[in-house]
């Protein structure tokens, strides 16, 4: 197992840029790099793989500087988006490919074991072009893992799969990687995938790593407006703190005031974020522990499936998630008069001062 560190790296690959990336991934950790397309996620992976060298900064494995070490000497595994199985070789030969460069004994036994483990034993003599996406993915995983790499890099390996097989393949992938106790860096733009897989994750945007932390920290306590909106914190309001009382602030957002659990000082500019799933929609104002209650009108209902997104105008626009059943029970429709409530703990506060300092350093 290996720790992976990136220190102040700047790199360019075509149109993509990395700016001042610093990152520490612990030994055996499953680290997810999340971000929209074009954020430079793959460049970061390529930097760690040695496909790209940084203009500035360093890459370290277990504290040793490997910034300019050729890829073939880094002992890494890399899962490509399209798997990159060699089309001129059978499945068996693909898996065998890297063994001659290692000192590992018992090649034949190893190949059999790994094929058994990832469930591709019967595909031994097939050529990669005749395999389904899921099968190719397993072969690629076996081809990497058989070499017992220090680090496994995965570049959106599930994106080429159809929705049906993605769930099962994701579970298998995580299981197999856990068995090998390997440090993994997994790139994705899919927040559900990130939530389900990550031990810890980092959010990238515009070539920068904006925030790293646990799933809870990223999804519930984003420290940046871009992270907040990317992880689905859809209700974002700018405001100023008008009162501070025992760890609860009152912020004026223009048409209303919102209370939140935070320690910001009076007069401070803040960004308030509320996840749509943390908002309760009712027909009448009920007595509850929620500190924030508003009356409003339903502007729009988006039928997303089991859960609907309801857009409510209560002086300001709020998006809330309501289950299908509740939508029916409440008889929600366009123009319905409703009451909404959310707790002070359900409001994430991002200090604008912190924000502007970050913006300036760019």
């Amino acid at each position: 197992m290996t720790t992976v560190s990136v220190e102040g790296a700047h790199a360019t690959l075509g149109d993509f840029k990395l700016r001042d990336i610093s990152l520490n991934v612990a030994s055996g950790e499953f680290f997810v790099i999340l971000g929209p397309s074009g954020a430079g996620k793959t460049v970061l992976l390529d930097l760690i793989a040695g496909f790209v060298y940084p203009r500035q900064g360093r890459v370290l494995f277990d504290g040793a500087d490997i910034t300019f070490l050729p890829t073939e000497r880094r002992h890494i595994g890399y899962m490509f988006q399209n798997y990159a199985l060699f089309p001129n070789m059978s499945v068996h030969k693909n898996i065998k490919f890297g063994l001659r460069y290692t000192k590992l004994p018992d090649h034949d036994r190893r190949i059999e074991e790994i094929m058994e483990l990832v469930g591709i034993a019967k595909l031994k003599d097939r050529t990669p072009t005749t395999l389904s996406g899921g099968e190719q993915q397993r072969v690629a995983l076996a081809r990497s893992l058989i070499l017992e790499p220090n680090v496994l890099l995965l570049d959106e390996p599930l994106s080429a799969l159809d929705a049906r097989s993605r769930d099962s393949v994701r579970e298998e992938l995580r299981d197999v990687i856990d068995q090998f106790e390997i440090t993994a860096l997994f790139v994705t733009h899919d927040q559900t995938e990130a939530r389900l897989l990550a031990d810890r994750l980092g959010v990238m945007c515009g070539g920068r790593l904006i925030q790293t932390g646990s799933v809870h920290q990223i999804f519930d306590k984003p420290e940046d407006a871009r992270v907040a909106s990317f992880v689905g914190m859809e209700n974002l309001f700018e405001g100023a703190v008008v009162a501070q009382n025992d760890g609860i602030i009152t912020a004026d957002i223009g048409n209303a005031t919102i209370e939140a659990v935070a320690n910001n000082e009076r007069g401070e500019r803040v960004l308030l974020g509320i996840r749509p799933e943390n908002i309760t929609v009712m027909l009448e104002q009920a007595v509850s522990s929620a500190r924030n209650t508003f009356n409003g009108t339903v502007k729009q209902i988006l039928y997303l499936g089991p859960i609907n997104k309801v857009i409510i105008d209560c002086g300001f626009i709020l998006a809330a998630y309501v289950t299908n059943i509740s939508t029916e029970t409440l008889g929600l429709d366009m123009g319905s008069e409703v009451s909404v409530a959310f707790k002070a703990t359900g409001v994430n506060v991002i200090s604008k001062r912190q924000q502007s300092r970050k913006t300036m350093s760019r």
Partner: protein, 303 residues
């Protein structure tokens, strides 16, 4: 009837969704015109080939192998063209690979220079080679001081062949390398393969069909080389008289020998062009396989 289908297809594709047009006078005329044009094109290429075989007899063909001139020309052609091929592959492959993978200043100029011999008249190539490597040539004068003479030797034959035939391999090899997704090479590196290991185990095997086609085209062009050779290397039996030159020499005295050498060359040409077509077809169907099968979710096992 087979040939009738070709012009008919042209009709229906030029007018969409009118498969059952009635045979109007206009349509008949157009059909006849296209049929005629096709006939002329096919006959123009085919007739001379037929004429060659028409002239010779199988026994005459076999007995031509007892002629010293024919045998020596055949031997010389094989030795020189195979040497040419080896040299072109050895020097052309790195150039093609580098051009396929990297862009650099002056790449366009270098590529144009590499392609130039394709359009350059062979006679011009011959004169140019003579002025470069001849006894008083730009570089040749220094070789001459060292006692090395290039012009009018077998070496000159090989140089002339390399000059005119190398673009065919380099062009094709460049395209074939470009078609190999660099991701395969990256994958090989992550699995521990060095650059050389990656090239010989991954890149070259994937590009193999194209490389073989290019090599065959170069070989065929070298085999047919005449103009540059006769000017730069002369026409000495056993030394510089390759098969095309032998045809030229025999033409005045022994038409039979000329024809039989020509037949040998035609047969080789056919073999080359058919092989190249088959390789291209295989490439195409492999690419198609890849696409259609990737679209499937779960293909049947053991297919």
């Amino acid at each position: 009837m087979q040939s009738l289908k070709v012009p008919r297809k042209t009709f229906s594709s030029s007018r969409t969704a009118k498969a059952h047009l009635p045979w109007t006078f206009n349509r008949t005329i157009r059909f006849l015109i296209i049929f005629l044009i096709f006939g002329v094109v096919v006959a123009f290429v085919g007739l001379p080939i037929v004429a060659l075989f028409w002239y010779g007899t199988p026994s005459g063909f076999l007995s031509s192998f007892s002629s010293e001139m024919v045998v020596e020309a055949l031997k010389l052609s094989l030795v020189t063209t195979l040497t040419t091929l080896l040299i072109v592959i050895a020097f052309g492959t790195p150039v093609a690979y580098h051009n396929a993978r990297h862009s650099y200043r002056g790449k366009r100029i270098i590529e144009t220079l590499i392609d130039l011999p394709i359009v350059l008249p062979p006679a011009v190539a011959g004169i140019a080679l003579l002025l470069a490597f001849g006894r008083r040539g730009l570089l040749g004068q220094y070789f001459n001081i060292l006692g090395i003479n290039i012009a009018f030797t077998t070496t000159a034959v090989i140089l002339a062949q390399i000059f005119v035939s190398s673009p065919f391999y380099i062009r094709q090899a460049t395209t074939s390398f470009e078609d190999v997704d660099p991701e395969y090479e990256r994958a090989a590196h992550t699995l521990g393969a060095s650059s050389a290991g990656t090239f010989f185990r991954v890149t070259a095997p994937i590009a193999l069909n194209g490389l073989v086609s290019g090599a065959l085209m170069t070989w065929a062009r070298a085999l047919g080389e005449f103009g540059a050779t006769i000017l730069f290397a002369g026409n000495f039996q056993g030394v510089t008289q390759t098969m095309p030159l032998a045809i030229y020499s025999a033409f005045g005295s022994d038409l039979d020998a000329a024809v039989y050498i020509a037949i040998i060359l035609v047969l080789i040409s056919f073999a080359v062009i058919i092989t190249v077509k088959v390789l291209a077809l295989r490439e195409k169907s492999a690419a198609k396989d890849e696409k259609t099968i990737l679209d499937q979710i779960e293909p049947p096992a053991g297919s």
